[in-house]
């Protein structure tokens, strides 16, 4: 498991308040149609990807998100 550095993806627990985050995520989709939710998610991925910035970290994230 890679260490949490700027050059590697962290998959160790890192979210401040996991339950609060999860609630906020679902909340953000409230009132959206499925189509709108997909569009929201796509925008969210792009916003977060920009925050991460590093292409190698993003590639690790793609790998981590791939279902095995």
């Amino acid at each position: 498991m890679p260490q949490a550095t700027s050059t590697h993806l962290t998959t160790a627990p890192n979210i401040d308040a996991p339950d609060d985050f999860y609630e906020a995520l679902i909340e953000a989709h409230q009132g959206l149609s499925t189509e709108e939710s997909h569009a929201f998610n796509a925008r969210l991925v792009l916003v977060l990807a920009n925050h991460i910035g590093s292409l190698s970290v993003l590639r690790e994230a793609f790998a981590a998100a791939t279902r095995r």
Binding site: H38, A39, A42, R43, V45, L46, V47, N50
Partner: protein
Amino acid sequence: MQLNELARRKGEAVDYQKLVFDYARHPDQDAAAPARRPVVVVGAGPVGLALAIDLAQREIPVVLLDNDHRLSTGSRAICFAKRTLEIFDRLGCGDRMVDKGVSWNVGRVFFKNEEIYSFDLLPETGHARPAFINLQQYYVEGFLAERACGLPLIDLRWKNKVAGVVQHADHVVLTIETPDGPYRLEADHVAACDGSRSSMRALLGLESKGRQFKDRFLIADVKMKLDRPAERWFWFDPEFHRNQSVLLHMQPDNVWRIDFQLGWDADPEEEKKPEKIIPRVKALLGEDAQFDLEWASVYTFSCLRMDRFRHGRVFFAGDSAHGVSPFGARGANSGVQDAENLAWKLAAVLQRQAPDALLDSYGHEREYAADENILNSTRATDFITPKSEISRLFRDAVLELAKSHAFARTLVNSGRLSVPATLRTSALNTPDSDVFEGGMVPGAVASDAPVIRADGKPGWLLQEAGGCAFTAVVFGDGETADRAARAAAEAGAAAGAPVATVRIPIDEAHALAARRYDARTGTVYLLRPDQHVCGRWRQPDTGTVRAALHRALCRA
């Protein structure tokens, strides 16, 4: 008409599309044995003409064959990039192109009916040429032809169609069909600049392979008075043409190029009809818009290339060697850059300055450039015409975010517009041994900058370094710089490859040049005859520059 009549008509408003050139019987057609020529160029389009002019300027006689007897019909390639204009400057016709062309640097991108951002392709001043001019291909070919007729070493033969090619160890034999019947011609080297449906490629049993895009586009050239700035306007999914893209460009003579994406299911024959085109144009311009339809075409495109651009003594350049989508203006521009890369190498080999191996580097360098162009072109096409639901979802997400977030604008891809390839991995480069900052790495095209010429008048660095030879750009004055300049000149003499010298003082008038080249007193940049940097040093001696010349000429 004869080609040399073009020179007499310079300054007149010539309709280049209507010119018909006369076939003339050449004495070679009556020769008992085939005549031998150093270089035969097949195809008198922009690439073949540029190559022929470049070779003639280097004292190499050229036979230029064209299967037709006209210049381009229809505006076709219209966007000519800064690097191409710099090459045209070297070929003696840059002013002619820029004076007639519409110069532009700014592009605007719209999503639905809202402008989401604009970009400036040349945000800094201090370059002789703009990022782009728009100019109909028939003008470009007309001005090149006009230049060619001032060069007696160019022997342009209209209605000469290559019908057979046989390669031998030390020459090529071409069989050429003419209105008077066939004849044979021998050449040391042949350049196939005969376009995407290259008959040279077919005659040699070769292929250009890649990916075809399942989409159709309509080009309409419309003549009208329209009060808009000279900018590139690109719409994603506009209300006047839903779910597709539209591109608008200004051309000279009040002609506007409109490019409508139609989708794969569109019927190309139907879409070419004026009654189909006019409503599309009116949807964009307004119901009462007054315009004349000049030219229209429905096209599909592929991104493809030949595995190798050199086959024995035959060299493929331009669309015969590679094809790209039109987004990015990388077709004609990369073809002219192919021609420039090939011209000095053929001349060096024919003039016995370099071994045949130098010609292999043409293939290596331009295949690398073609890959870069194809990559950029494919990515733009995938953004413009998303091929799946999820691809469309992300595309629209990017466009939506781009309205208010700067980061998303970097992801919007309406075509990454043509810039020359930096040949970082070329074997002709001498790797840096001194430390330099900035972009002028070995393999890069030399950057332009304002200079004061020897006669005291303002000029441009690339135009001063625009001779046929290698050029040493030497920075600074005084003993240190003089020694560096002497080293470069002596290296040229020792290597039997003349080196021209351009001196750039380190002063306020040349601050931009010094900054762009990260130069100090004594800094030397060695430019190849095609103005690519092939070596740079802080204070080189003769041996260092001589070794770099040997390397750039592929001498073992």
